[in-house]
Amino acid sequence: MANVRTIVLRAAGINCDDETKYAFELAGSAAEKVHINQLVRGELRLGDYQILALPGGFSYGDDIASGRLLANELKNKLGDQLAGFVQQGGLVIGICNGFQVLVKAGLLPALSEEESQQVTLTYNESGKFEDRWVYLRVPPAGKCVFLTGVERLYLPVAHGEGRFVPGEVGVLSRLWQNGQMVLQYANPAGEIDGYPWNPNGSTDSIAGICDPTGRVFGLMPHPERFLHYTNHPRWTREKLPLEGDGLRIFRNAVDYARNL
């Protein structure tokens, strides 16, 4: 079996890099924190890795709009390298701010060839940044390799700009048809519901989407914050398995990459 190598991308204001790196290590990958300047300067090449993780945080302060500046930087300075990485079968995961970056760079949902932004993640309907745990369900037709075998998850969100809004008419139905809508907020019974179960007012309660290949995945919840049962908000009162739900996503990625 090949060793899987993961880049955990850093940039000014990215702040979930340590725990994201730890999650990939737990899942069996070698993981390195790499500053975007190192890639821009050509000191390291994406092609030497199998997985690229864009962790959560406030890249460049989320000034102007969340993820916007890092998205432009990726597109303008690393666009070709990134496209090649995905084409050759590489996996990309964007968590929270990383998801915002992928969306604003046009890498998600990537419905067309040209890299334009087709959906957005904007201010929560509540008008507030909120940290709360959410129930998630995986629609059956989803094609995301990170979610193989996963039906339900319980994870925390922590964001102020997570409301999924599609652009032009037709985008929504195409995403559903393509199996790119892969993660939805739900109530404890697994049904679509309103606030606070849908914590930000996302259209169709969307919490995560993937690209047409299923290998580029973005989600607002934080799987790296639920790796151990003691991360669960009610672990002192409920019997829980040792491993947290979030770890399944990282294991899926590493297992998939290992068999490339």
Binding site: G167, R225, R237
Partner: protein
């Protein structure tokens, strides 16, 4: 050439609500447009690209270039608010980067503004009120005049040396010099300065006076605590050493690594790491500019661990806010004071919008409301960090090492923060002290942090400290105190031209760290920062002259003996006189039904749910969260203390808790301090910790201690710190004081209640043994551990009836320690299912919280509660706030073992959990067996959640 792009439009329902709170009902809506002003020559297509590809979201926003996004219409009032010159909005820098990333290089500057679109029929006066109270804070912002441009930053500066005529000055002139320069020096101090300069035969320069004033400020040297105090005939030489530091010295714990000598206190964590903790206050800046003041408060305290030893990785934040009455009618607001609600919303936003981007979980805190905080709100911000062993002790520079300045640029912001924070406020403070207010840039600090830890691990520097209060003048002086230092101010990177050397020397611009770097590693040092886009500059060198020398463009602007600077301050001599106050002893019949009082206490600002605030903090980033601030079936019950894993692969962690109760201080600050310590320790024990390795921090916020009664209160609180912590064997490792918190309005002075915040840091061997406060299972038994006394003085129950009373809760630390140790043992044995500490609102509140957090009913019998003295009334048993008490849930099969573990100590089974949601309390004394509370947990929870629900 200036261009302008407008992007919009966002709704601002919160502002509309706030306008209604001001009594202005005519507002139909408020919307916001983001305005970007770009300097430089731009083609129309480049300008459009900036709007399209950078500034506006293509899905949800629209933009226009060089015109207005909205047309004039009747009933539309447009107000544009921009930052004042010298106040830098971080977005400006980011926008510059974004434009450069688009390949457009011709933009030379960006200024941002917000355009508010207020619709409705409003009088000119009402609109003015909305502008003043809600939209613009004149301390940092101004309203852009019609068609006008935002004011431009400063101009060129032509240097001329300035000396101050001190040699021949009379006492009166000395004091005038101090006041004119906002130096906050007293007469003895100015005399000491005069005699130093007489000795060396010349007048001081303006820079020298500033350097001395900053170094000698209350903020930097704690002169009151270190002074000579005559406390009703007892002479105390250095209160700090005689009390708080004495505990630590006498306990002499081997696990204390670095105490009271660095920016934060350090204790041992595990075989590889130590852990440090510091809590600071940022009261006065927050009174004037709540968002900026609190943001720079948390930003500043994060730099304390970064500047401790050779630098810690910051791991968690804490915050405690004390504010005036939130429901105060606007017409009762004194001039020069912001409304408490605006202050609370603002300081919370400040901590949130700095702490969240820094990637640090805000895990613990409190909010207190008292009318005496009206003019002086208190903002406590804490940060703890993890340091590799061997890097925990303060570094020591060597002569020949270079002085490096890393991080943000220097501007006029924060000038006189150190001296200003040592003065009283009045209604004019907003105008004269504007320059002391700063706004923060968390991402700048995050960049510094990331790069600094790399430089640390490569061993590229010998010492580090933060440029905090007093700026370069304090930080470089401190690092070079034992040898000498020379600084060249013209090398300091500036935000804008026009700063004088005096301003550069004392600026408190944020996000700057100072380093002592050996010559051999300086290239690698500078490179480490540059690789991550952090500015790093060598601004001087450490010398062996024993002098602090400051030069500007080749001219000497200051040249002082380090000895004089650090040891020349005359000891303060103060009198303290204590008279025990006597309050009317409450006299009212015991109510038949205690339910309404229980609901009312749950609804009080201090007790009620703070979920609204906690949710907006990222309290789980870094992935180490074990016990969260919100617990229970619905993830919304009030956890007692936070538990955080510091290394993700290890089960070892830390418990972070805090205690404060200024209400007790009105009766006796001694018992207030004792109670605060007891409360912090109770929380540690309640979540499954023990007293084996607990370190304490003290933060004193007091009134004007030149008044003997205020000082006596401070002395009494300090004495309790010694007495109580000594017995509990919990050393203090760091602390801070903020004095002179008084506000003068219309000839009347309001002092804050003496407020002592005790923060506790405990090392927990195995975090999987943690216990939360929510009730777990019907049929389980409920115990009270600890004795209840008739101690309602300063209680919430008396507060409901507008009484203070006199029987303040006391602490018997020897008994308390035995009790806590035994309870810790029971928890370690797995006998405890839930545990909640009894504090504000006593047994009644703790029981209600435990029940509704667990979604279970509860039946309690007051006649079973262990009493420390005869207590005849049920209301006293239910609401007494006696210390060292816990409510404990035990499964029936463990009751025997639990009782055996606590044998010989005051502990008794007083109730049981039920599946039905009823909450019933049966009386004691004359009403034994009668139901005195009969309600249900959903109603109790609704009361508890009501106050901040619609914020």
């Amino acid at each position: 050439m200036a261009h302008r792009i407008e992007v919009g439009i966002k709704g601002a329902a919160g502002l509309q609500r706030d306008a209604a709170n001001l009594g202005i009902t005519g507002v139909e809506s408020i919307h916001v447009v983001d305005v970007y002003r770009l300097e430089g020559s731009l083609s129309d297509s480049d300008l459009d690209r900036i709007g399209r590809d950078l500034l506006a979201d293509p899905i949800t926003q629209s933009y226009v270039c060089n015109r207005s996004l909205v047309a004039d219409e009747p009933g539309l009032h447009v107000v544009e608010v921009a930052y004042n010159p010298g106040v830098m909005d971080p977005v400006e820098q980011s926008t510059m980067k974004g434009i450069a990333d688009l390949g457009i290089r011709t933009v030379t500057a960006v200024r941002t503004a917000k355009k508010y679109l207020v619709r409705g029929s409003l009088s000119r006066q009402e609109l003015g009120m909305i502008c003043d109270r809600l939209l613009a804070n004149p301390v940092v912002q101004h309203i852009v005049g019609e068609g006008g441009e935002p004011a431009a930053p400063g101009s060129r500066f032509a240097f001329e040396p300035v000396t101050v005529d001190l040699l021949e000055a009379s006492d009166e002139e000395l004091m005038f010099t101090s006041a004119r320069g906002q130096l906050s020096l007293n007469l003895e101090e100015t005399q000491a300065i005069q005699s130093y300069f007489r000795q060396i035969g010349r007048n001081p320069t303006d820079v020298e006076l500033e350097v001395i004033a900053q170094t000698w400020s209350e903020h930097c040297v704690h002169k009151t605590f270190k002074g000579l105090i005559d406390y009703d005939g007892t002479v105390i030489d250095n209160l700090l050493k005689a009390t708080v530091m004495r505990v630590t010295r006498e306990l002499n714990k081997s696990w204390c690594v670095s105490v009271f000598v660095d920016n934060a206190g350090v204790i041992e964590f595990d075989d590889d790491y130590d852990v440090c903790f510091k809590v600071e206050t940022h009261n006065r800046p927050s009174a004037l500019n709540p968002e900026g003041g609190a943001a720079t408060g948390i930003g500043g305290v994060i730099r304390d661990p970064l500047g401790t030893g050779l630098g810690a990785q910051p791991m968690w934040n804490t915050d405690v806010f004390c504010v005036g009455p939130l429901e105060l009618p606007h017409e009762e607001l004194p001039a020069g004071v912001l409304h408490p609600k605006r202050i609370l919303v603002g300081i919370h936003a400040g901590v949130r919008d700095y702490g969240n981007p820094m990637g640090l979980p805000t895990v613990n805190g409190a909010i207190l409301v008292d009318k005496r905080y009206l003019g002086n709100p208190l903002v406590f911000c804490g940060n703890g960090g993890l340091i590799p062993k061997g890097k925990s002790r303060k570094g020591r520079v060597k002569p020949g090492d270079l002085v490096a300045l890393v991080g943000g640029r220097t501007g006029r912001d924060g000038i006189h923060g150190a001296t200003f924070s040592s003065a009283e406020l009045d209604e004019k403070s907003q105008q004269v002290s504007g320059s002391a207010v700063q706004i923060g840039n968390p991402i700048q600090e995050k960049r510094v942090l990331d790069a600094q830890l790399q430089a640390r691990d490569k061993g590229l520097y010998r010492a580090v400290t933060d440029y905090g209060a007093g700026g370069i003048s304090c930080a470089v002086g401190e690092m070079g105190e034992h040898c000498g230092a020379t600084v060249h101010l013209e090398r300091v990177p500036l935000k804008y031209a026009g700063l004088s050397p005096r301003e550069i020397a004392i600026s408190e611009s944020q996000e700057r760290m100072g380093f002592g770097v050996p010559k051999e590693t300086v290239a690698a040092f500078l490179d480490t920062f540059r690789r991550e886009d952090v500015e790093a500059t060598i601004i001087g060198e450490f010398t062996s002259t024993g002098r602090f020398r400051i030069e500007y463009q080749g001219q000497v602007v200051a040249d002082l003996d380090m000895d004089f600077l650090f040891d020349g301050i005359p000891q303060l001599v103060r009198k303290a006189h204590w008279e025990s106050p006597t309050f009317p002893e409450p006299d009212f019949p015991e109510p038949e039904d205690l339910g309404p009082a229980l609901h009312a206490i749950l609804r009080s600002w201090n007790v009620c749910s703070k979920e609204h605030f906690v949710r907006q903090y990222d309290h789980e980033v870094r992935g180490g969260s074990v016990l969260k601030p919100l617990v229970g079936t619905e993830n919304d019950g009030p956890g007692d203390a936070a538990i955080v894993r510091l290394r993700l692969g290890s089960n070892k962690g830390v418990i972070i808790a805090c205690g404060l109760n200024p209400k007790y201080g009105c009766i006796d600050p001694y018992w207030m301090a004792a109670s605060a310590i007891d409360e912090a320790l109770r929380q540690v024990v309640a979540v499954g910790g023990n007293l084996e390795r607990v370190a304490l921090l003290d933060n004193f916020c007091w009134g004007n201690t030149s008044k003997p009664d205020r000082l006596a209160g401070l002395v009494r609180a300090s004495l309790a710190c010694y007495d109580i912590a000594k017995v509990y064997e919990t050393p203090f490792i760091s602390g801070k004081d903020s004095l002179n918190n008084e506000f003068t309005y219309a000839g009347e002075t309001i002092a804050i209640p003496g407020t002592l915040l005790i923060s506790a840091l405990a090392v927990m061997e195995d975090v999987t043994k943690a216990v939360s406060m929510d009730a777990k299972e019907a049929g389980n038994q409920i115990y009270v551990v600890g004795e209840t006394f008739d101690e309602l003085g300063g209680s919430h129950y008396y507060d409901l009836k507008s009484f203070v009373g006199n029987k303040v809760p006391k602490v018997a630390p020897a008994k308390g320690k035995a009790l806590m140790e035994r309870l810790s043992r029971a928890t370690a044995q797995g006998l405890v299912r839930a545990c909640h500490d009894l504090s504000e609102g006593g047994l009644g509140v703790a029981a209600a919280e435990m029940a509704f957090a667990g979604g279970l009913g509860l039946r309690l019998w007051l006649d079973q509660v262990p009493l420390g003295e005869p207590v005849s009334r049920g209301d006293a048993i239910l609401f007494s706030e006696s210390n060292t008490r816990f409510l404990v849930e035990v499964a029936p099969e463990h009751c025997e073992a639990f009782e055996k573990t606590l044998e010989g100590l005051p502990a008794a089974r007083i109730g049981e959990l039920t599946a039905e949601p009823a909450f019933e309390v049966f009386g004691a004394g004359r009403r034994e067996g009668e139901r005195v509370v009969s309600t249900d947990i959903y109603d109790l929870k609704a009361s508890w959640q009501a106050p901040f629900k619609d914020w």
